[in-house]
C-alpha cells in the first residue's frame, strides 16, 4: 500500500513548471467555470479552448513524473501540515477526470440549447469547475484534512449540479442525496477523530508508520468505510443512486457516475489499505456484498422500464466487480502475483467503466432528447433513424459486458486470472453471471430499438458534436483495452 499509493519520500524535487501545473489543475477549473457563468458559451469550441490549458497542465505533471519519479508538496499553515503527492495512480485518475470532464463540458452547450432549461443553467459551469478541482485534489491529497475538505467540496458541488434541473422529483432525490452524503462524511470525520486521538497524525505518510491493528483502527476503519461506501453507492447503500440519475441532466449524470462515486471508492481503498493491512474479514464481507451487487444490479437493470434507470442500475452492478477484488487488494495473505494482477485489473476496470458509463449516459441522453421519450419501449423504430446513438450505446456496452478487445475485457481477464490463482470460484461465477446479465439488459434495449411496428416521424435533431463526443468516449474505453500496457506502465511506475 505504501508503494502503491506513493506514501514515501520523493527522491527529487519537482521541476519548476510542476508547481505552476499543480496550481493550474487545482485553480483553473474553478476560474474557467466562473467565466462560463458570465459568458454562457453557446458553442462547443470556446469550451474546448478553455479546457485546453487544464489538460496541458495535467500532461505536464505526468511528464515530470516520468522524469523525476514521485512528486511531493508539503506546506505548514498555522501548525497544520498539508501534503500532496503525484504518482502514477494519481496521474491516471487525474487524466481520466480531466478528459471525461472536458467531454462533459463540451457536451453541455448542445444539451442546454436543446432542453432550454432556463436561467439557473449558467450556474452549472462554476459547479462543474469546483467539482473537477475537488476531484483533482482528492487524487493528489495525502492527509486526512485535505481529503475531508476536498470530499465535502466535491459532494456539495455534485448535489448543486443535480438540483439545477429544478423538477420536484429531482429536488426530492437531491435532498435525500444531500442528507446521506453529509451524514456519510460525518461518519468519516468520526473515524478521523479516533485516528487523530489515538495516533495524533493526520498525514497519511506518518500514519502508515505508526498504525497497528487495535480496536481503534478497526472501529475507525468501520466508520470511514461506512461513510465512504454510502457516498460511493456500494451495494446495500445504493438506494439513492437511481432516483438521482433519473432526474439529472445528462452531462451531470455522466460526470457523477464516471467520477464522483469513484472518488469515494479511491479513498476507501487507500485508507483501508493503511488501517487494515492484515484484515481478512472486512474485505471478504465487501467481496460477498460485491457478488450480490453484480447480480442485483444486473437484475434491476434487466427489469428496468426507463433508460436512465437501466444505466444507473448497471452502475451498481459494475461497482460490484470492483468490490469483488477487495480481498485481493488488501491483506498480506495474498501472494504477490495475483495481488498485482488484481491491482491492475481493479484500476483498469474503474477507468474503463468511467469512460464507458459517461459515453452511455450521453448516448442515452441523446436518444431521450431525440425521441422525447425516456422509457425503453419508446425506442421503437430508432434503429433506422438514430443508428449513431445506438452504435455508441453498443460500443459502450461492449466495455461493460467485457467483450474483447475493450478495457472491460482486459480488466475482467486480469481479475479472473487473479481469482483463479487464489481459487475464489464463487467470485469467478459471479463475474460470469454478471457478464450474462449485462448482455441481457443491453440486448433488451436493442430488441426494442429494432422494433419497426411503431414507426415515428418526429425526431428532434441533435446539436452538432453531441454524438461525436459520446462516440469519442466510447472509443476511448475500447482503446483502453487495446493499449492497456500504457496506463499499466504508469501504474507500475508508482510501484517500482
Amino acid at each position: 500500500m505504501i508503494w502503491r499509493f506513493g506514501l514515501y519520500e520523493s527522491t527529487f524535487e519537482p521541476q519548476w513548471y510542476s508547481h505552476w501545473a499543480l496550481l493550474a489543475i487545482l485553480v483553473l477549473p474553478i476560474f474557467i467555470g466562473l467565466l462560463g457563468a458570465f459568458f454562457t458559451p453557446r458553442r462547443l469550441f470556446p469550451v474546448a479552448l478553455a479546457c485546453l490549458p487544464i489538460l496541458l497542465a495535467g500532461a505536464l505533471l505526468i511528464v515530470d513524473y516520468l522524469q523525476v519519479g514521485l512528486l511531493r508538496w508539503q506546506w505548514d499553515i498555522a501548525g497544520v501540515e498539508l501534503s500532496l503527492r503525484f504518482n502514477g495512480l494519481s496521474g491516471l485518475m487525474l487524466m481520466i477526470t480531466q478528459w471525461v470532464g472536458t467531454a462533459a463540458a463540451m457536451y453541455t452547450p448542445g444539451h442546454l440549447q436543446l432542453t432550454n432549461p432556463g436561467k439557473h443553467a449558467r450556474w452549472l459551469w462554476p459547479l462543474m469547475g469546483v467539482l473537477i478541482s475537488a476531484l483533482s485534489l482528492i487524487w493528489l491529497a495525502v492527509d486526512l484534512l485535505t481529503l475531508y475538505a476536498a470530499l465535502e467540496l466535491m459532494g456539495l458541488a455534485a448535489v448543486g449540479m443535480l438540483l439545477l434541473s429544478g423538477k420536484p422529483d429531482a429536488l426530492k432525490a437531491g435532498m435525500r442525496y444531500l442528507l446521506l452524503a453529509l451524514v456519510g462524511s460525518l461518519a468519516y470525520l468520526l473515524g478521523v477523530a479516533l485516528l487523530l486521538g489515538y495516533w495524533g497524525e493526520l498525514d497519511l505518510k506518518s500514519l502508515v508508520e505508526v498504525v497497528e491493528p487495535s480496536p481503534v483502527s478497526w472501529v475507525a476503519a468501520a466508520l470511514i468505510g461506512a461513510g465512504l461506501a454510502l457516498k460511493a453507492a456500494l451495494f446495500p447503500l445504493h438506494g439513492w443512486l437511481t432516483p438521482v440519475h433519473e432526474n439529472a441532466w445528462t452531462p451531470v449524470s455522466a460526470l457523477h457516475a464516471a467520477l464522483v462515486i469513484k472518488a469515494s471508492l479511491f479513498m476507501l481503498i487507500m485508507l483501508w489499505g493503511i488501517l487494515l493491512p492484515d484484515a481478512l474479514f472486512a474485505p471478504r464481507l465487501v467481496a460477498w456484498l460485491g457478488m450480490l451487487a453484480i447480480v442485483w444490479g444486473g437484475l434491476i437493470a434487466w427489469r428496468a422500464e426507463s433508460l436512465k434507470t437501466l444505466v444507473a442500475s448497471s452502475t451498481v452492478g459494475q461497482l460490484g466487480y470492483l468490490m469483488v477484488a477487495f480481498p485481493l487488494l488488501l491483506g498480506s495473505a495474498v501472494s504477490p502475483l495475483p495481488g498485482a494482477l488484481a491491482w491492475e485489473g481493479f484500476w483498469l476496470q474503474l477507468m474503463g467503466h468511467s469512460l464507458a458509463k459517461a459515453a452511455m449516459f450521453m448516448a442515452v441522453g441523446n436518444l431521450i432528447i431525440a425521441t422525447g421519450e425516456s422509457s425503453i419501449k419508446g425506442l421503437a423504430g430508432t434503429s433506422r433513424r438514430l443508428p449513431l446513438s445506438l452504435l455508441i450505446f453498443g460500443i459502450a456496452s461492449v466495455t461493460l459486458m467485457g467483450l474483447p478487445p475493450s478495457a472491460g475485457f482486459t480488466a475482467k481477464w486480469l481479475l479472473l486470472q487473479a481469482m483463479v490463482m487464489t481459487q475464489q470460484w464463487v467470485a469467478v461465477a459471479a463475474l460470469l453471471i454478471g457478464t450474462l446479465l449485462t448482455a441481457a439488459y443491453v440486448f433488451r434495449v436493442f430488441r426494442y430499438s429494432f422494433d419497426e411496428t411503431a414507426p415515428r416521424h418526429q425526431y428532434q435533431p441533435l446539436a452538432p458534436g453531441m454524438d461525436l463526443i459520446a462516440l469519442c468516449l466510447a472509443l476511448a474505453a475500447f482503446a483502453l483495452g487495446l493499449l492497456a500496457h500504457l496506463p499499466l506502465a504508469l501504474l507500475q511506475g508508482g510501484g517500482a
Partner: protein, 226 residues
Amino acid sequence: MIASIDYVEVGVAFCLVAAALACLFDRHLKRASSLFLLFALLMSLSWWLFDAPGLALAELVLGLTLTGGSFFYALNAFPATAEKVPHYDRSLHRWSHKVVRAVLALAWSVMIGGAIWFLLPDMAYSPTEHPLIIAAVVIVATAMGAFALHRHMLRRLMAFNVLGSGVFLLLAGMAGTMPGSQALISVGLTIAWLGTLLGVLLIRQLVSLEGLLALESDSDATGHAQ
C-alpha cells in the same frame, strides 16, 4: 484516582444534552429551530471551556448565526394560512420503524463508545472526568437515531446539524484542540453551514413547487439506504 468534578463543565454538558434532545424531538418546527440556536450557543460555550476561543467564535458565526438563520429562512417560506399546521410535523411512524432505527443507532453508539473506552482508559475509573465527551456520545447516538427516524426534511437537516456538533465535540474531546483538530472542526462547521444552506434553498423551492406535503413524502428508498 479521586474524581474531581468541574461543576461548570458538568452543567454545560447537561444543558447541551437537554437542548439537543428537545431540539431533536420537538414537533413544533419554529420552537425546534429556536432550541437549535440555544444548542449552538451552548456549543460555543463548550468550545470556550476547551480553551479554543477561535472555535467558539466560529461556532457563533457559522453555527448560531448562519446555520440557525438558515432554518428560520426556510420556515419563512412556509405559507401562513392554516395557523399552526405548516410549522408542525404530524407524520406518524410505525412501531417496527421506530424499533429498527433505535436498535441501529444503539449498535453504532455501542461501537463508538467501545472505541472511546479503549482510547481514553482513564474514563473507566472516573467517568465524571470528561462530562463533555459523555454528553457528546449521547448527542451523537440520539441524533443518529433521530436522523434515521424522522421523515420531515427540515427535521432531518436539524438532526444532521446536531449530529455534526456531537461529532465535533467528540473530536475535540479525543484529540484535544491541537491545530489539526481545530482545522478539521472549522472545515466541518463550514461544510455543515453550506450543506444546510443548500438544503434550505431546496426546501424553499420544493415548498413553492409542491406545497408542504412534499417535505414529508420522503419515504421508502431512504429506509433501505439506512
